[in-house]
Symmetry: C2
Subunit: 146 residues, 2 copies
DNA sequence: CTGTGTGCAAACACTTTGCAGGTGT
DNA sequence: ACACCTGCAAAGTGTTTGCACACAG
């Protein structure tokens, strides 16, 4: 993976460049799906402390590098934000469609799926919308049919 | 609250009628919003064991009496299913719109809000859709304005 | 009577906090 | 040099499991 891009990204988000952060960011870049804390931990080649992983994820979240992905199991997952999703300025970016596959268990961002407008009852003020679709993903469907 | 209805409901879901179950079911009936395990526990007049509350919620979930409500904090919440949502036969009932108010913190089911059709990419098979809208609810909005 | 529910104790898993020392800028 | 990261230890919190007894049907 492009370590230059990783370093550049950290810098762009005003984050110090440490080995732990580079590795965690690399994991997110390599994997296209959302990761829970436990997923990140198990995928780290070098063992950093659990606590450091917790703190790194929280830092990334605060800085707007990653965002939360809802899950039906109670474990919070995280996924990389797309470009231009900074700390002060990611309100326009709060609508996400996520797909969780019951077969492979992975949750992916469906960036190209348009989230339909939801008509709320009178008096409700919408700030953020999260849509989680569960089912069987493309790959698993193909395997079953093959 | 109508204890007769509660007993009837337990029976309808093939659940033994115990004090604990009646009380938990009563709490769900009284409260219009989704409840996490901790919420249920704190609202029980008589103190039953934490473990019993966990098991009761799991049982209710398995039988289709309640359903999961997504949350952005990682804590699973539960809410009563509407009528005709039985164990074998609640696939048609899997689409929910929930609203979480950032002011009062309550998550409510918006039963009358139509969940828009989501167009998935080719190959994806949808089974269930969960939509969580966050913002400010009717009541809190009214208070702020008042 | 039988199968299930409950309480208790304990194990287990998850997450946060405080502090001392190390590291990036 | 300074601020911030990290690791360790420990505490705090949330959840599950096993077993003995109680209770609903």
């Amino acid at each position: 993976m492009d370590t230059k891009a990783i370093k550049h990204t950290l810098k762009a988000y005003s984050l110090r460049q440490t080995e732990c952060r580079e590795e965690i960011l690399a994991i997110f870049l390599n994997k296209a799906h959302a990761l829970a804390h436990a997923d990140v931990e198990t995928q780290m080649s070098e063992k950093f402390d659990r606590v450091t992983v917790y703190r790194t994820l929280k830092t990334f979240l605060d800085k707007g590098l990653i965002h939360k992905v809802l899950d039906d199991e109670g474990s919070i997952k995280y996924a990389l934000c797309k470009d231009n999703c900074h700390q002060d300025d990611h309100h326009h970016h709060h609508d996400h469609v996520h797909f969780k596959c019951s077969s492979c268990g992975l949750t992916t961002c469906l960036d190209h799926v348009v989230i339909p407008a939801v008509v709320l009852p009178e008096g409700y003020k919408r700030v953020e919308t999260n849509l989680l679709v569960q089912g069987v993903c493309k790959d698993c469907n193909a395997k079953q049919l093959g």
